[in-house]
Subunit: 120 residues, 2 copies
C-alpha cells in the first residue's frame, strides 16, 4: 500500500476554537469525528492503527488486545471508517487498516489550547 | 473570576497516538471527553466559550445563537461540565462558564499527527 499524502493546506479551514468560534456547518462535520472517538474500544483501535505511523495494520493484529469478540471489533472499525478517520483494503483472508492523518489533524487543531496555556 | 492555571506538566501523560498506542485506562478516560464533543450543539457551545480565551461567558450570551431552547442548552452545558471540559459559577440571575484548557490539551495532543504529516 502507498501512503496517500493529502494536501494539508486545506486544513487551514479549522483554527483553534480558542481563536474563533465554530460555524454551525463546521460543528456538524467535526462532531461526527469526535463522536466516533467517544468510545474506549474505538479510541484504542484507532490508537493501535495510528501507532504504526502511516503503515497499515492487519485486523488479525488488532483483535487479541480486546476482551470483546471479532464482530464487535469489526463494528467499531466500520464506525471509524464511516467517520473518515481510517481506511482499509481487503487482501485475501484479512482486512488491512491505516489511519488518515488529514482527518485527525483538524480535530487536534480545533482543541489546541497552546494560546491559552503558558509554557512556563 | 480568576483564571486558574493548571500544572501542565501533568499532561506529559498523553503522547500523540501516532507515537504510542493508548492503554485501556487512558482510553476510558479520554473517550469520555471525546463523547462530550460528539454533538454539534455541544461543540459549538464549547467553541463559543473557548473563543473568549480564558475569560468567562454568561449563559445569557450563549443561547441566542441556537434554535434549541434554554433547557436543551443547559443540558448540553451540563454534559460538557461533567466531562470536565468547562466549569461554571452562578452569580445572581446568570451562570457564567469558562473553558478548562488543561482538559482540552490532552485530547488535542492525542490526535496530533504532525509526526506523520510532512510540512512541505
Amino acid at each position: 500500500m502507498e501512503l496517500e499524502l493529502t494536501d494539508v493546506s486545506a486544513l487551514a479551514c479549522c483554527p483553534p476554537m480558542v481563536d474563533e468560534a465554530l460555524t454551525e456547518a463546521a460543528a456538524v462535520d467535526l462532531a461526527r469525528g469526535f463522536k466516533a472517538l467517544g468510545d474506549p474500544v474505538r479510541l484504542r483501535l484507532l490508537s493501535m492503527i495510528a501507532a504504526r505511523g502511516g503503515n497499515e495494520v492487519c485486523v488479525c493484529d488488532l483483535t487479541d488486545a480486546f476482551a470483546v469478540k471479532g464482530p464487535t471489533i469489526s463494528h467499531h472499525l466500520r464506525v471509524l471508517r464511516e467517520a473518515g478517520l481510517i481506511d482499509c483494503e481487503r487482501r485475501g483472508t484479512w482486512v488491512y487498516y491505516w489511519v488518515i492523518p488529514s482527518a485527525l489533524a483538524p480535530l487536534s487543531q480545533l482543541l489546541d489550547t497552546s494560546a491559552l496555556t503558558p509554557t512556563a
